[in-house]
Symmetry: C2
DNA sequence: TTGCAATTCAAACACTTGTATGAAACTATC
DNA sequence: GATAGTTTCATACAAGTGTTTGAATTGCAA
């Protein structure tokens, strides 16, 4: 495999260009120009353009998913197989939000690439996302263990809403900033995480008369 | 303008094809073949492909936005300029959800087209969406009037989360069905609306000690 | 050094795309 | 029924795309 220099130069250039300009108007010729390699190198090393994109996306989402599961596992082990729902939700949305939000000028190329991936949703990426269900199932399981009284349907809806808030906030972060005239501070990632977690927690725990647990105040108020 | 037959045949064919196969792999040639008209007709009647897509999207979103505002205005007039937050939120997410969810086999072409538009996000559509901020501002205003004690920032976050849940549920409805093995019934649109509204309401009202208002139970429990 | 496989390269290929053209057909008005 | 304006049509255009090819180069082992 020699030095792999060409291969990794392509990966780096592609990620940078996609992050900056989106998938729509970056061609292979742009990428190889940026990487300083020959056009044919992409097909030689990756087989096709789609496989290149897929490799980029897989690499990044494996990292995020691993971080998610690490947090989840740690929480469940500490709680003897049962973690508080807030902690589970934080493990679910925290890594993604931390990976994609934060001060724009210090956002990594990887983060900007993942934002693009979540906005543009090109075919090879959609294919990979469809395979993420098993991963989500692990969280659904942990949530059920955490809230055994809750119906399965409610758990899935809670999971859906948690992901909704996290991903939509990433996708539409610019719009929220503009709409709120900068009043919503999307650079304070931990605040965003706590807002999402607290709302999702309410969604999952409210309306249950058995538990009598008071609805948790918004986390930022408790801090 | 004669009979406009060609023009509307193009619009109908385009909407149908985009709804079925997405923007990615539908060409002008596909559209004119489906419509039974000449290739040049698209540029003659619409100027360009992007303007055709834009016209389709604008038509549909104008309809949704009008419905939203109609509901909002009715609610505020009935309440003397101040509507309950649930009703405002229902006006915000109801029309969109009703337009895009529901039994798959009876989903209108328009609905399926709008789902595509929300998944694929092609440039001409993005441009139009960016102009929707004024529309959202009207809802933010109504929400502020409804919850005068709430900080502006919290209002924007609540609005953001409400849209998040609605749009994400539409975008990822297939995945939610698969994840829940069909247990989450996305065909029951009114149930979905109430779930979104109740969670968004909790997000906007919880943690406020002044109001002492008990957090509302999930609306489906109250029914 | 020789030989062999892996890699790089310039060039071309094959195809699709949206758009433009200019003549033909049609429609309505006078 | 001639005329002017609109609409349709077949066809061509120009450009860009991902991919393939086959020769050249490189790097390494025998």
């Amino acid at each position: 495999m020699a030095s792999d220099h060409t291969r990794s130069a392509i990966l780096a250039a592609a990620e940078r260009l996609y992050a900056d300009r989106g998938f729509g108007d970056v061609t292979l010729r742009d990428i190889v120009a940026e990487a300083g390699v020959n056009l044919a190198a992409v097909n030689y090393h990756f087989g096709s353009k789609d496989e290149l994109i897929a490799e980029l996306f897989v690499t990044r989402s494996i990292a995020t998913n691993r971080e998610r599961l690490r947090e989840l596992k740690a929480a469940e082990e500490q709680g003897g197989g049962r973690a508080p729902i807030e902690v589970i939700l934080r493990a679910l949305v925290g890594p993604t939000l931390r990976g994609c939000l934060g001060p724009e000028n210090q956002r990594s190329t990887a983060a900007r690439f993942m934002i693009r991936a979540s906005i543009e949703s090109v075919p090879p990426i959609r294919r990979i996302k469809n395979r993420e269900i098993d991963h989500l199932r692990k969280f659904a399981g942990a949530m059920r263990r955490s809230l055994p009284d809750r119906s399965e349907v409610d758990i899935y809806w809670g999971l859906n809403f948690a992901l909704a808030m996290a991903h939509h906030t990433i996708r539409e972060s610019e719009r929220l900033t503009k709409l709120s005239e900068g009043k919503c501070d999307l650079d304070d990632v931990e605040d965003v995480v706590e807002r999402v977690v607290s709302v999702a927690t309410m969604a999952l725990t409210a309306g249950r008369t058995e538990s009598k647990a008071p609805v948790r105040a918004l986390a930022r108020d408790a801090r």
